[in-house]
Symmetry: C2
Subunit: 348 residues, 2 copies
DNA sequence: ATTGGCACTCGATTCCGGTGAGTGCCAACG
DNA sequence: CGTTGGCACTCACCGGAATCGAGTGCCAAT
């Protein structure tokens, strides 16, 4: 078992090691922290911490370094979030003020978070699977092109060009639009996909002429809806990995690759489980299954009023990172984001 | 002056150094290349090359390494493009087949190029400033939201949500739509911006009621047009920089940052001047003004039929790269891309 | 439980001589 | 005059020995 003071020693080790990147010895601890006991005493505590595998010595006679398990205990029990400075708060607001559409807000959010923490920042798009379709719009572009637009009640708009060979006069177009409208408007995106599938499977015998085009258009809409279902990320600050390269034993290649692929990070962020405050952390080896065993990911939920769902904003960096500050930053940004999206939803 | 054989020696040095990453000595050259002369003779040639600053010795008694100037001569006079293998050609087609909209094609292009070369691939969006507006569409979303859609003859579609407080009945909406239509349709994007500006400056006294909303909408359209004018990039493969990290004396941080910012690379690609084949290379220190003095950028023009303009596809990597192969890859991909976009334009 | 003392470990640093790849130069050669 | 073999010289790159010192582990005393 680890004594109370032992835990304080662990906290000191984590803090100092994050500060200096150097293994910290018993002497350094009594110097930098007012424990009121001698180095020898600290050494005894350290021996216990080592038994518990919370710290480790890189080699026989050197200072100690927190293990991943040590970081975990630190984050769960020892770390109070370091409140943001006034300057940091105002930095967030200045990044986020003057909201535009969702893309815009999320892009600015991710920039704010990366500039605040110096880490790779990640914002998950809310999943739109539960959003409801409010509009389906068709616009002929000429040359057999048809622009298909789908709008949901979450304010997300997305379009795609379908290639139908024929031109339609206005009334025909209106009919197709109306049909798609009754099929989809007011329905969740998820349902829409099924309804389109069964509509395609049961063609309308009475309207052979335009049936082919209708199906092409319906397929385009379906592709678009599928797009809504996919989760996406916005990220920023990947260059920061190069600065903290020394913290990665191996190359930063897998990290950069994961960032580019997105899918790994998407899964990882999805699987993390948040505490009662909506905060989650996945530390070092815990990320091994994702090939990111030398990195930590912090995340915080944010609410998306319109989408009746939550998504996450997070941050990726070396295991040796400043958890109190970064956790606070992630939480603060998530809260700001929730608020901005609320205003967006109600205001105007 | 450097003799004919001297240039062949330079070629050998570049090739071997790119292969092995090790300074190449006179002995190694006579071993690996059939020059039919002795090492001493090669040494004399090397002394000349060094006088011309085409090669340099890392330290007094070691093999030689090409200087940036040496790479330049190699690329301009010595490098024949290495034709792509059948496998590579089919890899490109398989990446690019089944085209979708422009975004889609460019994304796949950039993936093809990065997987082909193992470098960072870059595709410049064609500049849409000269494209003509073909449609302006307005869709009411409810809650005072108005969706504004702009379509150009290049097939690019882009939308934005404007916040007008009021709702409009269909005839009013049609009037606003018609007004914007006459203002913009058939005009180049560039002109459209000016016309909107003067329209806003001269409000319509007869229709005070809807004038405010019209201006809000016009502004949204203008923002959207502005967006069209901005050049953009798609990139892929930035993780590859981590693999060739050894080729960068300093950190890869500035590289990654430039990739994330895009604007530096945009400027650089814009300023490169292409030869008669549409190929361009900017090597090592030539990129110093952009903070990328340890990297090289290769680029090739491609045609965008609809946009009546050209744009570039390119590639970023360490100065020590395989120029013949990479140049060939860039050129091949640019040609494929031109062809695909032509088919897109005519076919369907 | 805490502390001072002490022997011990082991990475890091420095120094040193040997090795070898590679050069520069020169005199000789066709 | 271009080419060549020979040769002295340079210097990065080991590998090993010596030294240093931060930091530990253990123990006996308090």
């Amino acid at each position: 078992m680890v004594s109370e003071r032992g835990l304080q020693v662990l906290r000191a080790i984590v803090q100092d090691y994050v500060d200096t990147r150097e293994p910290v010895g018993s002497k350094a601890i009594v110097d930098r922290h007012a424990f009121g006991v001698s180095a020898a005493t600290i050494r005894n505590d350290m021996a216990q911490l080592e038994d518990e595998e919370l710290i480790a010595a890189p080699h026989t006679s050197s200072g100690r370094v927190p293990t991943d398990k040590g970081y975990r205990v630190f984050v769960d029990h020892l770390a109070e979030l370091r409140p943001l400075s006034a300057a940091q708060r105002s930095a967030i607001s200045s990044f986020l003020e003057g909201s535009g559409d969702l893309d815009d807000v999320l892009t600015r959010t991710v920039r704010a978070l990366t500039s605040l923490t110096g880490q790779v920042a990640i914002v998950q798009y809310p999943s739109f699977a539960r959003a409801r379709v409010t509009h389906v719009e068709l616009v002929q572009l000429g040359g057999g092109r048809m622009l298909v637009i789908v709008v949901t009640d979450t304010g997300r708009v997305s379009q795609r060009v379908a290639y139908v060979r024929d031109e339609f006069d206005d009334s025909e177009l209106a009919r197709i639009r109306a049909e798609l409208g009754t099929l989809l408007v007011g329905r969740p995106v998820r349902d829409g996909l099924e309804r389109i599938a069964s509509r395609i499977a049961a063609p309308d015998e009475h309207a052979i002429a335009r049936e082919k085009a209708t199906i092409v258009i319906a397929k385009a809409v379906a592709e678009e809806l599928e797009h809504f279902r996919q989760d996406r990320l916005v990220m920023a600050g990947s260059a920061n990995l190069a600065r903290s390269e020394a913290d990665f034993r191996g190359s930063i290649y897998p990290l950069l690759e994961a960032i580019e692929e997105q899918v790994t990070i998407l899964r990882l962020m999805g699987e993390m489980v948040a505490d009662d405050q909506g905060l989650a952390a996945s530390i070092g080896r815990e990320n091994e299954p994702f090939g990111l065993g030398e990195a930590s990911v912090l995340a915080s939920d944010y609410d998306v009023t319109g989408a009746r769902t939550r998504a996450r904003v997070g941050l990726l960096g070396p295991t040796r990172m400043d958890y109190p500050t970064n956790l606070a930053a992630v939480r603060a940004v998530a809260r700001y984001l929730t608020r901005i999206l609320e205003e967006d939803e109600s205001g105007r």
